[in-house]
C-alpha cells in the first residue's frame, strides 16, 4: 500500500515557476531520498507536500496521504494531518525544541493533545519513547542541557508521538560531523523499520548512500534522474549526477604530495583547555612551505582552537609555536567557515579588497588579474558580502589572502557550508595555492574523506583518535 503519493507538484513565486512538476510515491519500508544542491528546490518540494510553504509561494498538484486526498494549492487542508499522518523532522533540532520546556514535556504534549492520551499515560509513554532512543533520564532536562545528538532524538520522539507513519526529514544532518551523521541515518532507518515511510531531503551524498532506498536528483527545480539509490550513485546516467557524485570527497583522486619547501613553523608540546577541560596535549609538529596538514575529529574536539593557537589568536596552555625567521606579522592568515561573517558587512567588496591590496603594496591591477584565475566575475566586486553566493565569497576570501602573500593559512572548515561541487572547486583552489604560492596550509574538516584525499599528513583529534591512521604522537616531526 502506498503511504504517500504526490503527483505533478509545482511551486511558483509570483507566476514564475521555481519547481517544475515532480511526482513521487512513498512505500512502507522503502526510504526515498531527494538529493540536490542549494537552489535545487528540494526543500520547496518537501514544504509543498507538507503544506508549509511561505505565504508568497504557491503550490499546485495532488497529494494522497493514506486515504486523504489533498490539493497542494490549499495548504490549510494539510494542517489536520500534521503529527497524525506526516511527521516532520526539523533541520536544526536544537532550535526546534521550546527552550523553556523540559524534553519529556515536549514529547508528552503530543501524546496528550494529538493522540488524546490521558495526562499520566502521555507522560509514561513519553518516558518510554525517550528510553527507547537511549535518552533514559534526560527527560527532565531543558533543551540547552542536551547535546545536539540528544536534541535530535528528542525531536524525533516528539515528531513521531502523534502517531504519523510518514516521516519527512529535511536536511537532518546539517552541520553534523561524520559520526553524528551516520547516527542520525541509523536512527531514521530504525524508525522506518517500525513500519512507515521515510522521505529524506539532503545535499549530503554520504547520508544518501547510508539511507539507500530510491532517489530523486533535483537541479534548479527540475528532476534530473530517478532510480534506486545504489544504482544512481553507482552508475549515474546524467552528466549532472556524475559531477555531483564525483564531487563527493569519497570519490576524489588522491592529491600528489608536494615536495616540502622551507620550514614555516614549529609547534612544540601544544596543549589547550576549554572551560577547565583539556582539549588536547603534547602536540608537536613542523610545517613547511607547500605542505597541507589535515586536522580532523568530531565537533568540539579542539580543531579550531588548535588553529587559533598556531595563529597566535589564543594562548596555548602549554607548549609554544615558533614561526620561521624573517616572516612578517601578516604571513599567518585564516580562511573562515562562514565567509559572509569574515567580511565587513556594510561595505561592497571592492573597497575592502582594495584596502587590503594597498596595505600590502599592491594595486587594483593585481585584483583584476586574480579574479579570472579564481573563476570570479568582476561584477561581484560591486556587491556586498551577503549578496554573493557562499562558494563565490569563499573564493573572494582566497583572493583576499592571495593579496597578502601569506606563508601559512589556517583553513577552518572552509567548505562545510558549501554544496559538493562548489566544495571541490574551493578545495582544489586551496591546494593550488599551496603549490603555486609556496604556502603551508592547516586544513580543518569534520569530513575524514576530504582530509584523507587532500592533506599530506593527518592529525586526528578527539577521543576516537585511535580509529584513524595517524595518531597525534606519530604526527610529531613527521611533516618535514
Amino acid at each position: 500500500m502506498t503511504l504517500l503519493n504526490a503527483e505533478d507538484i509545482t511551486v511558483s513565486q509570483g507566476g514564475t515557476p521555481i519547481l517544475h512538476p515532480v511526482s513521487l510515491h512513498l512505500e512502507p519500508g522503502e526510504p526515498l531520498v531527494i538529493l540536490g544542491e542549494t537552489g535545487s528546490g528540494k526543500s520547496l518540494l518537501a514544504q509543498a507536500i507538507m503544506g508549509t510553504l511561505p505565504r508568497d509561494l504557491t503550490a499546485r498538484g495532488r497529494v494522497a496521504l493514506g486515504d486523504h486526498l489533498l490539493d497542494a494549492a490549499r495548504p490549510n487542508g494539510f494542517r489536520p494531518l500534521w503529527g497524525r499522518q506526516i511527521a516532520v523532522l526539523p533541520q536544526e533540532p536544537w532550535l526546534s525544541l521550546d527552550p523553556l520546556m523540559r524534553a519529556s514535556g515536549q514529547v508528552a504534549e503530543a501524546h496528550r493533545l494529538v493522540r488524546g492520551l490521558g495526562k499520566g499515560e502521555a507522560r509514561a509513554q513519553a518516558t518510554s519513547d525517550l528510553d527507547r532512543l537511549g535518552l533514559s533520564g534526560a527527560g527532565a532536562r531543558y533543551p540547552h542541557e542536551l547535546s545536539g545528538g540528544m536534541a535530535q532524538r528528542v525531536a524525533i520522539a516528539a515528531a513521531r508521538a502523534g502517531g504519523a507513519r510518514v516521516v519527512i526529514a529535511d536536511e537532518p544532518t546539517k552541520g553534523l560531523d561524520a559520526a553524528r551523521r551516520d547516527e542520525v541515518a541509523d536512527l531514521l532507518l530504525a524508525e522506518l523499520a517500525r513500519g512507515g515511510g521515510l522521505l529524506v531531503i539532503t545535499h549530503d551524498l554520504a547520508l544518501a548512500r547510508r539511507v539507500g532506498g530510491r532517489m530523486i536528483v533535483l537541479r534548479e527545480g527540475r528532476v534530473v534522474e530517478t532510480g534506486a539509490t545504489a544504482s544512481v550513485m553507482g552508475a549515474p546516467t546524467q552528466a549532472y549526477t556524475r559531477d555531483l557524485i564525483a564531487a563527493d570527497p569519497e570519490n576524489w583522486a588522491l592529491r600528489t604530495p608536494a615536495a616540502p619547501g622551507a620550514p614555516v613553523l614549529t609547534a612544540t608540546g601544544l596543549a589547550a583547555d576549554r572551560g577547565g577541560a583539556r582539549l588536547f596535549s603534547g602536540l608537536s609538529f613542523d610545517l613547511a612551505e607547500g605542505r597541507i596538514l589535515g586536522v580532523t575529529g568530531p565537533s568540539g574536539c579542539g580543531k579550531s582552537t588548535l588553529g587559533d593557537v598556531v595563529l597566535g589568536l589564543l594562548r596555548a596552555s602549554e607548549g609554544r609555536v615558533d614561526k620561521a625567521k624573517g616572516l612578517t606579522a601578516t604571513a599567518f592568515q585564516k580562511l573562515y567557515q562562514d565567509p559572509v561573517a569574515a567580511f565587513p558587512r556594510h561595505r561592497t567588496l571592492e573597497p575592502t579588497l582594495l584596502d587590503v591590496a594597498r596595505r600590502h603594496g599592491q594595486s587594483q591591477a593585481r585584483i583584476d588579474a586574480l579574479m579570472p584565475r579564481l573563476g570570479l566575475a568582476p561584477v561581484l566586486l560591486t556587491r556586498r558580502p551577503d549578496a554573493v553566493s557562499g562558494g563565490e565569497l569563499q573564493r573572494l576570501a582566497l583572493l583576499r589572502l592571495l593579496l597578502v602573500r601569506p606563508k601559512f593559512i589556517f583553513a577552518d572548515e572552509p567548505t562545510s557550508r558549501l554544496d559538493p561541487i562548489t566544495q571541490k572547486q574551493v578545495i582544489d583552489l586551496l591546494c593550488d595555492m599551496a603549490e603555486t604560492e609556496g604556502c603551508a596550509i592547516m586544513l580543518v574538516s569534520h569530513d575524514p574523506a576530504l582530509v584523507a584525499r587532500t592533506a599530506d599528513h593527518v592529525l586526528s583529534l578527539g577521543p576516537d583518535a585511535a580509529n584513524v591512521d595517524v595518531t597525534p604522537p606519530r604526527v610529531a616531526r613527521a611533516l618535514q
Partner: protein, 309 residues
C-alpha cells in the same frame, strides 16, 4: 545568585550617586545652609547661632569637602536621612505616608496597562503585517508621542472639564484613581503592546514554534503552551526597565492631579530645597527600581532556566 550580587552593587552605586548629587545640592544652597537646616529642625523662632553651629559641626558643612562628603554618605548608608527642612518631621516618617499613595496609583496604572497592551500586542504579533498589526503600530506610535503630562491634560479637558464625568483632583475614592491612572497607563500600554508584539512576531517565526504545530498542536494550543511563556520573558524584563518611566510619570502626574504621593513630595522638596527630603525620596525611588528588577531577575530565571546559568 550572580545577578543578585550585581543588583546589590547597583543598589550601592545608586545610593552613592544620590548621596553625591544631594551633597552637591546641599553645598549649592543659597545662604547659610546650617542656619536653614537648624531652622527646619527647631523652627525659625528657636534658631540661634549656637544651634546653627551645632548643625554645622554635625554635618561637617563648614569643613573641607571630602570628610564632609564621607560623613554625609555614612549617614545615608545607615539610612539616617535626618529631618525635613520644611516640616521638621523625620524624613522616614514623611516618606512612609506618601509611599502608599504612590504605590497604589502606580499599581493600578501598571495593571491597567497590562490589561490593555500585551493582549493586543500578542494578537498583532501572531499576524505581522496584518490589519491589527498596522493599526496598533499607528495607535501606539501616536500614544508614545504624548508625554504623560499632556495625556493628563487632555484627559482632564475631555473627561473632567468638558463632560464633567470624573474629578480632576482629589484622593481617597476609587473614581479619583481613574484619570491619573489612565494618564499613566496609556503610554505604558503603548510600549508594552509593542514589546509583546515584537516578541510574539519573533517567537512565532522561530523553528520551535513551527515544529510544535508540525507535531500536531493547534494554533491555539501552540500559542498557549509555547507562545505565551516565551513572550513573558522579554515582556517582564522590559517591564522592569519601564519602572523608571513609570516613576517619572508618577512624579509628573501626581503634581498635575495633586496626588499626595512621593512624586508630589519630591517636586515640592526640590522646589523648596528640602535636601534631606530629596535625598530620602530619591533613594526610595532608586532602590525600588533595583528591588523590582531583582525580583524580575529571579522570576525570569525561574521561567527561563538558560538565564540562571
Amino acid at each position: 545568585m550572580n545577578t543578585l550580587i550585581t543588583r546589590g552593587i547597583q543598589a550601592l552605586m545608586v545610593a552613592v550617586l544620590i548621596g553625591a548629587a544631594t551633597f552637591a545640592m546641599m553645598r549649592a544652597l543659597p545662604g547659610d545652609a546650617a542656619y536653614r537646616i537648624a531652622a527646619g529642625r527647631y523652627g525659625y523662632d528657636n534658631v540661634d547661632t549656637a544651634a546653627a553651629d551645632a548643625v554645622r559641626d554635625e554635618l561637617g558643612l563648614g569643613g573641607p569637602a571630602l570628610p564632609a562628603f564621607l560623613s554625609w554618605l555614612g549617614d545615608l548608608l545607615r539610612l539616617d536621612f535626618g529631618t525635613s527642612l520644611v516640616t521638621g518631621n523625620p524624613v522616614i516618617e514623611e516618606i512612609g505616608h506618601q509611599l502608599g499613595a504612590s504605590m497604589a496609583l502606580a499599581g493600578v496604572a501598571v495593571l491597567l496597562s497590562l490589561v490593555l497592551g500585551p493582549p493586543l500586542g500578542i494578537l498583532a504579533g501572531l499576524r505581522p503585517g496584518g490589519v491589527l498589526d498596522r493599526l496598533l503600530l499607528v495607535v501606539s506610535t501616536g500614544l508614545k508621542a504624548v508625554p504623560q503630562f499632556l495625556m493628563a491634560l487632555i484627559l482632564i479637558l475631555i473627561l473632567s472639564v468638558q463632560f464633567r464625568l470624573l474629578p480632576a483632583a482629589g484622593h481617597g475614592e476609587a473614581r479619583h484613581f481613574i484619570l491619573p491612572a489612565l494618564a499613566l497607563a496609556l503610554g505604558l500600554a503603548a510600549v508594552n503592546a509593542r514589546i509583546a508584539r515584537d516578541a510574539m512576531a519573533r517567537i512565532g517565526a522561530m523553528p520551535f514554534y513551527s515544529f510544535a504545530q508540525w507535531k500536531g498542536l493547534s494554533p491555539h494550543q501552540t500559542l498557549w503552551r509555547h507562545g505565551l511563556r516565551n513572550v513573558s520573558v522579554p515582556l517582564l524584563t522590559y517591564l522592569g526597565l519601564q519602572f523608571v518611566t513609570l516613576v517619572e510619570g508618577v512624579v509628573v502626574v501626581e503634581a498635575v492631579f495633586g496626588w499626595p504621593g512621593i512624586g508630589h513630595a519630591l517636586v515640592h522638596a526640590i522646589f523648596s530645597r528640602d535636601v534631606p527630603m530629596v535625598q530620602g525620596t530619591a533613594l526610595c525611588l532608586g532602590l525600588s527600581f533595583v528591588l523590582i528588577n531583582a525580583v524580575i531577575d529571579v522570576l525570569t530565571q525561574r521561567i527561563d532556566p538558560r538565564r540562571a546559568t
